[in-house]
Symmetry: C2
Subunit: 190 residues, 2 copies
Amino acid sequence: MASVSTLGYALLSLLTRGPATGYDLTRRMREPIGYFWVAQHSQIYPELARLAGAGHVDVHEGDGPGPRAKKTYTITESGRSTLAEWLPEPPAFQPRSEVVLKAYAVNSADPARMAEMYQSIADEAAERLQTWRAELKTMADQGFHHPSHPRFGNYAVLKIGLESQRVTHEWAAWLAAELREVVSGHDGAD
Amino acid sequence: MASVSTLGYALLSLLTRGPATGYDLTRRMREPIGYFWVAQHSQIYPELARLAGAGHVDVHEGDGPGPRAKKTYTITESGRSTLAEWLPEPPAFQPRSEVVLKAYAVNSADPARMAEMYQSIADEAAERLQTWRAELKTMADQGFHHPSHPRFGNYAVLKIGLESQRVTHEWAAWLAAELREVVSGHDGAD
DNA sequence: ATTTTCATGTAATCTGTTACATGATTAC
DNA sequence: GTAATCATGTAACAGATTACATGAAAAT
């Protein structure tokens, strides 16, 4: 009884949205769950084979565009119940942010260059914030914001994605401004 | 010229706060940078050896409590400049949150149990929020909030940590409330 | 004509976790 | 006396990234 990895559960979650090929899943792993969970196709293909071996997904082979057959995966009852058991278990926190790590060591580098870097982070976050805000609105218009809607999960993920970008934007902009103050020389003692 | 891993840079960052043993670094890797970067001692010891081999840290061996010598590491000029070059480079985003992944699949599980789980997450975040708020105040009282203070990095990390917990708290509480509504049956159509 | 998209796989490498292993000193 | 803290290491395994490899069809 090979236990399922977190990536396996991520794939099962994606397959609750409907059958898909490994290729499809690689793309779906970007929006919106990809804002919080990433995987390359080289990781996805072997994992799908494992899930199929465990009976959590069914495979249908058809003609492919390239030299190999195209495989469409469908979640099975076993897959659904395995997923349902895993979901309410207390999830692990997994930090690890290079953005924040660099802030920890911020005074070990040139403040002007660090200010530039954090300003870029702030700008990118602001852009994402705008895009995702529009996406969230579209989802709400489609009724995804109702907790019983089958795509409520997409809505919930985008919602925290939005808030995370807002926090990143505000924090990075603050940090960039503080660093620019150091550069300009007047430190503004309070 | 073996290039330094992200963990290596994390250790160099910690060593800018002063010399330390691998054991010390394992503990320092918890507060506050540990809120955003974690590592076990089994990963830290070999990495310190690599940094020493590359000349980024100096080692001083002394009497240890156990069968082996106690090694105290100090960052070198080479270590400082390597760190300073890495810092302004655009950092990689590394998502990967089990908490959010589970939200993506939230309607594949029992809503009552999921509501409980997210309520726990919300409660834990609220607790951390309180603790970290107090810590941030202590830091500000010590002058860490000035960008030229050698421990400004600690302050900056704690600041985003706080905001992240706030967002997690609000989002998880919202999600738990929505799920409880599903359980109680009246969905409140808008 | 060339690039992008569709589609699947493997190999080598790197990163990270869990478990094993040792032993002195200090606090309860 | 027992548990926690100090202190360092290795081995086995699991998870993830980068690069290699193939090839048709559609779009530019």
